[in-house]
């Protein structure tokens, strides 16, 4: 279970953003809806443990995330949280397989080529294993970034605007992949977007 309690944050004395309390049960699929500039990314960063809020507390499965040391937090994030960004952002100097190995070793988990094959296969890009990112299409790269997010079987899968730069058909496809993968890996899913097209797919919505 993930919860945020009386969290608020401000950037250098500018407007203070307060977030209402939020409780997320394991396995839930949530939509985080908000216009650009409403603090969506800020909340996602707070949830993923890369931005410490000025006030409030974030709990994940009984762990108060921001009471961890910087190093422990990095490892906690690597193991428990998978993040999919609006653009794929893979490491260009590494092959697809190496990008996924990277995710395993940074989380201090054993390197597991079997798991990599399994995930790539389930996303239909198994044959691109030894290609470099610049040899793949945008859609394939998006799949790789999903693969990277789920490779360590995280408890929480977070996607930041995964569909905003895609056309209708691809937006639905990506959304289906996300739901499918979160189900497959028994991960809680949070999709942050201002894209109204994906609204109907979710029962739970947290609006900013």
């Amino acid at each position: 279970m993930i919860s945020i309690k009386s969290v608020s944050h401000s950037y250098s004395n500018a407007l203070r953003i307060s977030f209402k309390d939020w409780e997320i049960n394991n396995g839930d699929q949530w939509l985080l809806l908000g216009e650009s500039g409403s603090g969506k990314t800020t909340l996602l960063h707070i949830l993923t443990g890369i931005l410490k809020p000025e006030k409030g507390e974030v709990n994940m499965d009984g762990t108060s995330v921001y009471s961890l040391s910087s190093r422990a937090l990095d490892q906690f994030r690597g193991r428990n949280i998978g993040i999919i960004f609006q653009r794929p952002h893979l490491i260009k100097s590494l092959t697809i397989k190496e990008n996924l190995l990277l995710a395993q070793s940074f989380a201090k988990l054993p390197e597991d080529p079997e798991r990599i094959n399994e995930v790539l296969h389930s996303l239909g890009i198994a044959e691109k294993k030894d290609a470099y990112p610049n040899e793949l299409s945008q859609g394939q790269l998006q799949r790789v970034s999903i693969a990277r997010a789920v490779i360590n079987k995280p408890a929480l899968l977070i996607a930041d605007e995964p569909t905003s730069s895609l056309d209708d058909k691809n937006a639905i496809a990506v959304l289906n992949l996300l739901m499918e993968q979160s189900g497959l890996n028994q991960a809680t899913l949070i999709v942050a977007t201002h894209d109204k097209r994906v609204k109907d797919a979710f029962i739970n919505t947290y609006e900013l």
């Binding site: 190093r71 994030r77 490491i91 100097s93 590494l94």
Partner: protein
Amino acid sequence: MSPIKISWKSLWSKPLSSALNIMLIAFGTGILTILLLASTQISQKLDNNSKDIDLVVGAKGSPLQLILSSIYYIDFPTGNIPLKDAQELSHSPFVKRAVPLAQGDNYEGIRIVGTDSNFVSVYKLTTSSGKFWSADFEVTIGATVAATQKLEIGDTFFGAHGLTGSTDVHKTHAYKVVGILTPQGNVTDNLILTNIASVWRMHDDHEKEEAAEQQGSVHQEEKAAGQQYEETGVHKKQTRPDQAGQDSGREITALLIQYRSPMSVVMFPRMVNQSTALQAASPAMESTRLFSLIGVGVDTLQCFAILIMLIAAISVFVNLYNSLKERNYDLAIMRTLGASRGQLFQIIIFEGILLTLAGTVIGIALGHLVLQFIGAYQESSQARLSGLIFLSTEIYLFVAGLAIGIFAAIIPAVQAYRSNISKILSKT
């Protein structure tokens, strides 16, 4: 995927700028390696050849030339000295041992040196086969001479007049090889040793021939110190050991002296320089002087090499710093995957170290290779440089390379360490 592998792959993803950095480092290190090896080898050779000789007495002229010709067998002799004077000095109470030298001939550019058994004791020579010279026209040859000229015991050859060139060959007498020296690691490896009388006799007879050919001409051509000059006049100036007659008229080229006591250091050179027409030169002093002359050039090159290394360091820094701007996002992504700040720091530092270490290794290898190449094309066999000698001081070059790598990478690495990933990630 260890940090070092990530650094490695990252460098390979931009081969051109990596190669440029490695080349700069390699160039700087290469020059430093050559300087280090060459100056060590030269000073070692200088010391090795002169270690048991306290003083050289020869004709007036440049003291450095006297040392070069009589100890290193590189330059031409300053002239000749009367045997009588030399013998007087040999019996001086200051002198423990005196070695007479008579030069003037060569065989295929290798100097034929007339001397006596004192030479053997001063250089502590032993033969690997055969014996030392005893009768006239018997020679004992250095190990390198035997190898390069393919001379064996029993072989004979004709010496040529002068210290280089083989145009004027003494056909009247042939030298006979009676012994080969064990390798000494000094000049004696490259010498042909015989007795002084052989050198004298060779020239006596040679002159008779010439005189007969010229039929009593008062002009006599003569070569001294490898250069030809003509002298007009009835009396011939003596510049080499070739005068017929009794011992009093004979000449030798130089006298190597070992002192009897430390007192001699002060007294003897002054005595020679003031009370005789001869010149005394100290190998130690002249070597130091020679080295200080070369030293200016070495210093300049050293500054040049250090400058190149500095430019290389800046280049590595700029390379890492610029790539960091492009890779900010990559590094932030790595953090979201669980990489710690320390790991990012390591990745950047490793990139710097890998670049400079590769440059250093290539540079050192290149330095050795170039020096070996220079050695192979060197004219003087006496001071041949070798690229196959490795020095323990080269480890400092490694340390320097490592230090430059860390130095160049530290600022980018600290930046990567301190970067605010939330800020970077929110700028898409």
